[in-house]
Amino acid sequence: MSRPAAIVFDQASIAYGRVPALEQVHGTVRRGEIVALVGPNGAGKSTLIKALLGLVPVASGSITVLGQAPAQARRLVAYVPQADTLDPDFPISVAQVVLMGRYRRIGWLRPPGRADRDAAAEALAAVGLAHRAADRFGTLSGGQRQRVLLARAIAAQPEALLLDEPFNGVDAVSQEALLDTIKTLAAGGAAVVVSTHDLGLAQLTCDGICLLNRHQFGFGPPADVLTPDLLRAAYGGAALELGDRGLIVARS
């Protein structure tokens, strides 16, 4: 018996004004599944994540998140942005960043309570950074900052997790920690969508792949989607042919 659907794309197209950004995305992410968004730079991976958060509107078709429109499901969804978009000089501690994951639950005008601090501490321990709680966020390495942002998302106890290029420029230790945590969360029943450049990583760790470049080239199990024909079609000039030995996909 298959697990219940968490995110459903039904011929969804997304446009910025009149300029189409991404067309005809169609597929399902089930609870407990990890699905990778794969494609060259500018393919629309970040746009699709923004649409899942209800930050950009769906122009035609539909996207359903946990049975609701994306903007209505925000409380059940946690987002992990790229760590390098944040100001490293900001005077904020690691513990304060993780605690932000609890803010929606705490609500307006109330200070965080004991239960919130415990949940934040637990989330930070899950990514292996409990010992850095008191340090300023900006003093951590890029990979560690990415783990802190994952901890912030976990502290919200989400039913769906969206990650934007979490493995970019991340060291091996942090990548391992990120993967372990994401797998644990999926095993607990959360649906995970992660955009990545790393095809090898996507193939090894994900249950499904959504191959994009302006429109969808494939959505399904890695074995069905990561084929030379589909990759060649999606990556175009960025795909390097190795004669009959196969195909290499360059990063950009």
Binding site: R74, P81, P91, S93, V97, M100, W108, L109, R136
Partner: protein, 283 residues
């Protein structure tokens, strides 16, 4: 030495000036930290200039008692306008603010230049006159200080999140524009409260300098707020005392508001110098 810091304030007008300056030091210190975190110094500057014609019109309509209401109307309108400009994200925010602030400022100057006492009035509105503060001014400042305290305590975590990671705040369902409206209104109210004592030009220093100095001294937000409040208050006290001692004791006339600002800047310079020296010694 202690005499210089205490004796001047025996006189009632100096006592009122001290109370007002201490309130403003605390208020600007605390709100200034948020201005610093959000990098809103330029927006604050725009608010101060936009308030100027309101001050002038208020004064022309009903004299001294019209200044605060006039400033309030302009400040609230400016805060709402600037929030709306930021929310559209289509226009170049910097350029728009620059155009608005100079336009409003010019309107203020033209209005006041039609008065006989042009120079004296202009100076008072731009640089304040803390020595003629009355009880009403103190009540206004105290009310804004209490309100700012409530806002910073009540919405502190949301404002922090908005300053640190606005994209994530939006993704979690917060209305950034609503939060920005609150903080812009707060900044506008601080400017209004400061108009009488330090004027529309010097208030920017009261907001930015203590917070910037505090940021140099600590990495912890709680400590930064506490230090900024303390620096703002001590700077206000020392500035007033210095200006009085120089004017009365040594016949060297120093404008009170400007002296407060210079004391704050001197403190900032000392901290910067101290840190540079420490870095050199460590090498």
């Amino acid at each position: 030495m202690i005499d210089i810091l205490v004796t001047p304030f025996d006189r009632p007008y100096m006592t009122r000036a001290l109370v007002e300056a201490l309130l403003l030091g605390a208020l600007c210190g605390a709100v200034g930290v948020y201005v610093l975190l959000r990098r809103l110094a330029f927006l604050t500057d725009a608010v101060t200039h936009t308030v100027f014609p309101g001050v002038v019109v208020g004064f022309l309509v009903s004299g001294r008692s019209g200044i605060v209401p006039g400033a309030l109307v302009c400040a609230v309108a400016a805060a709402a306008l600037f929030t709306a400009i930021a929310a559209t994200r289509r226009v170049n925010e910097d350029a728009t603010l620059a155009v608005l602030l100079t336009a409003f400022f010019a309107v203020g100057v033209i209005l006041i230049s039609r008065q006989h006492s042009y120079t004296a009035d202009l100076t008072a509105f731009l640089f304040g006159h803390v020595l003629t503060i009355d009880t009403t001014d103190i009540v206004v400042t105290a009310a804004v200080t209490v309100l700012a305290g409530l806002v910073l305590l009540g919405l502190g975590k949301e404002l922090l999140l908005r300053a640190f990671d606005p994209e994530w705040a939006r993704a979690t369902g917060y209305r950034i524009t609503a939060l920005d409206l609150v903080s812009n209104m707060l900044i506008a109210l601080v400017v209004v409260a400061s108009v009488q004592a330090v004027g529309t030009v010097l208030v920017i220093a009261m907001l930015v300098v203590p917070a910037a100095a505090a940021r140099l001294l600590s990495e912890r937000l709680g400590v930064i707020v506490a230090v900024a409040v303390l620096v703002g208050m001590v700077g206000a006290w020392l500035g007033l005392a210095t200006s009085y001692e120089a004017s009365v004791g040594h016949d060297l006339r120093l404008a009170a508001g400007a002296t407060i600002v210079l004391v704050l800047v001197a403190f900032y310079a000392l901290v910067t110098l101290g840190q540079a020296t420490r870095r050199l010694v460590r090498r």
